[in-house]
């Protein structure tokens, strides 16, 4: 009897942890967007206020996606071409690009399509606009992540209880 109770407890805890793991993807997206927001803001300061070249500013970004774009630009590509190259790469789907949704990628497409290709004021407007857009996406992502975590943890707990009742 005691062993059954212990086994039931293990099943319930295991299922709850599975539910928590399932909600990880939503949390990772919110975290990735948060990093991108900070990087774009930092980019705005370095490029517009400190007149730093775009590749050098991108090379100091926390987000691996922006760093890869910076490396591509150092190889002679424009921001748009470097971003297209990063998106086609295998590491994009397998790595940080995997958690981004279509609207996140579209915001970055718009940013890199015009980055480094116009005057200082236009660049400031572009970077400010992108930062605001990414902030909105990040806020929505955090809300979704919270809801998803609550849902999946609750479902995991209930499914664990169900398995414990059926099997044990």
């Amino acid at each position: 009897m005691g062993l059954r109770i212990i086994l039931a407890g293990v099943v319930v805890v295991g299922a709850t942890l599975c539910g928590k793991a399932l909600s990880d993807a939503a949390r990772q997206r919110a975290s990735a967007l948060g990093t991108l927001v900070e990087d774009v803001k930092r980019l705005r300061v370095h490029m517009v206020s400190m007149f730093e070249p775009v590749p050098d500013s991108l090379a100091r970004a926390e987000s691996p996606l922006l760093r890869q774009v910076g490396e591509g630009m150092r190889g002679g590509l424009s921001a748009g071409e470097a971003w297209a190259q990063v998106r086609r790469g295998r590491s994009f789907r397998a790595g940080p690009g995997n958690v981004l949704l279509r609207e996140d990628r579209e915001a970055l497409d718009r940013l890199f399509g015009k980055l480094g290709e116009s005057g200082r004021e236009s660049q400031e407007v572009l970077l400010s606009g992108t930062a605001e857009q990414l902030e909105r996406l990040e806020a929505a992502a955090r809300e979704k992540a919270g809801a998803a975590e609550r849902l999946y943890v609750t479902l995991g707990l209930l499914v664990g209880l169900l398995l414990a009742v059926i099997v044990i």
């Binding site: 209930l158 009742v165 059926i166």
Partner: protein, 64 residues
Amino acid sequence: MSVDILFRIAGIGIIVTVIAQVLTRAGRDDIAMLATLSGLIVVLVMVVNMVSDFFSSVRSLLAF
């Protein structure tokens, strides 16, 4: 017939109902329906097994 099976069926019914409610409130009505049907199938299988055992017992009793 063990009384445990009745408590087990009641427990499954309650938990499946709660799962369906949680899924419905989260906007996943289709998955809630699937969960309810799955619970129903599990309980039906258990009941069918019990009925089958009952008939086997009756048959063996009457066959002497």
